[in-house]
């Protein structure tokens, strides 16, 4: 593929190729933790940080360890271990350094290890053969896009809980999926501006 700039990829990952709304990644925590604005903000921030950092780390590991040693088929295991180790490390560091930050973000960190969006970003980046800078832009953009989606979702759900009468079978996950679908429709409006496929 031709060289896309850092900002182009960043923009595309947030809007046109939003990891949640076009690739369905990270749905579990999206549906589970989007009922309060504060929780979703915390989780969004944590995902943002971890995706940006692990996409860079995994790019380095992939390019300098797996490819030279011809171990590309081990990438699933290696990526997930890097992600898990990184999350643990961040958790320990935050706990030492900043108490308020730990209480705000700490509880979300273990959840993140099994968030599909983060592994998904690393896998997409390898398949699309991004350069280092592109990988960073894609990781950061995907994190921001995911956070944007979950915060918007939390806002909508709060409003909905106040005044809407939802059919019984649709309560909870059902209505959340319909909101997500509507949001995905809205985000399709960005299509055609840039594309990273």
């Amino acid at each position: 593929m031709e060289q896309l700039g850092f900002l182009t990829i960043l923009f595309a990952a947030v809007f046109t190729n939003n990891i949640l709304l076009t690739n369905y990644l990270g749905m579990c925590s999206f549906l589970g933790c989007s009922r309060e604005l504060k929780t979703s903000l915390g989780l969004g921030a944590a995902v943002c940080f971890v995706t940006a950092a692990t996409s860079v780390l995994n790019w380095l590991v992939y390019a300098f360890i797996l490819v030279p040693l011809d171990l590309v088929y081990l990438r699933f295991i290696v990526f997930i271990v890097v992600i898990a180790a990184f999350v643990q490390l961040v958790e320990m560091i935050i706990e030492r350094v900043s108490e308020p930050l730990y209480t705000a973000l700490g509880i979300f960190l273990p959840l993140i290890t099994v968030n599909c969006a983060i592994l998904g970003v690393s896998l997409f980046m390898v398949i699309r053969e991004y350069t280092f800078l592109q990988a960073f832009g894609y990781g950061l953009g995907s994190g921001v896009g995911w956070a944007l989606a979950i915060v918007a979702m939390a806002g909508i759900r709060l409003r909905l809980a106040q005044r809407a009468r939802i059919p019984r079978g649709l309560e909870g996950a059902g209505i959340a999926l319909i909101i997500a679908g509507t949001m995905a429709l809205a985000f399709m409006g960005f299509n055609g501006m840039v594309s990273v496929n």
């Binding site: 076009t22 369905y24 990270g26 699933f76 295991i77 099994v114 079978g169 996950a173 059902g174």
Partner: protein
């Protein structure tokens, strides 16, 4: 839980305890490929294989895994099985493997597999865990296949390359794009929860 026979466990995982409807778990990695029935089938077969064998393996190992690192062990076992699936697809069905792209790898982070491992495999004997793995895999697979049939039929007018709708049919192209998946799954959940499951269970999802 332990008193359940394997057969009731099997039936429950297909029906009243179906992982998709009751818990809305693990739809991430597979919902994305439900716009084509063939890809969905391949993904679901891979998922059943991984769930069943990871449950079996972890159940055999359950008395030897230190509880502090059990998550790591679970992830490693699951990742090994997923690598097997990936290599198999690359070797025998390279075109499907290309279309699925990263989604095969994302089976690792599918919450159902981890969930079954945590909830069942670590506390139950191997055979029961295996049955549980197979049945929750199948329970998940048939829902996803149903979604895929609806999406592909309405979106392209054909299933598996066979034209099923009349020639004048106008394709609902939104069905094969991202929002379609959300809507179809929502409607499925609505129908099942509102109409078929009585009394309604409080899932809090």
């Amino acid at each position: 839980m332990t008193a359940k026979t394997n057969w009731t466990r099997f039936k429950e995982n297909l029906g009243t305890q179906n992982p998709v409807f009751v818990q809305v778990l693990g739809i991430c990695s597979t919902l994305a490929v439900t716009n084509v029935v063939r890809n969905t089938l391949v993904m679901c077969l891979g998922l059943v294989f991984v769930t069943a064998l990871s449950n079996l393996t972890l159940s055999l190992l359950r008395n030897r895994i230190p509880s502090r690192i059990r998550m790591m062990v679970e992830v490693l076992v699951i990742a090994c099985l997923v690598i097997l699936v990936d290599i198999f697809l690359k070797a025998f069905h390279p075109d499907i493997s290309r279309q699925l792209g990263p989604y095969v790898g994302l089976i690792i982070t599918n919450c159902i597999i981890m969930g079954r491992a945590e909830a069942v495999a670590l506390t139950h004997p191997p055979l029961a865990s295996f049955v549980d793995g197979v049945s929750s895999g199948i329970g998940y697979a048939y829902v996803l296949l149903a979604i895929a049939v609806v999406r592909e039929l309405l979106g392209t007018g054909e299933i598996w390359g066979v034209r099923l709708l009349w020639p004048g049919w106008v394709n609902w192209s939104v069905m094969v794009m991202a929002p379609g998946g959300f809507f179809v799954l929502a409607v499925f959940i609505w129908v099942v929860k509102g109409g078929l499951m009585r009394p309604p269970e409080k899932t809090g999802g």
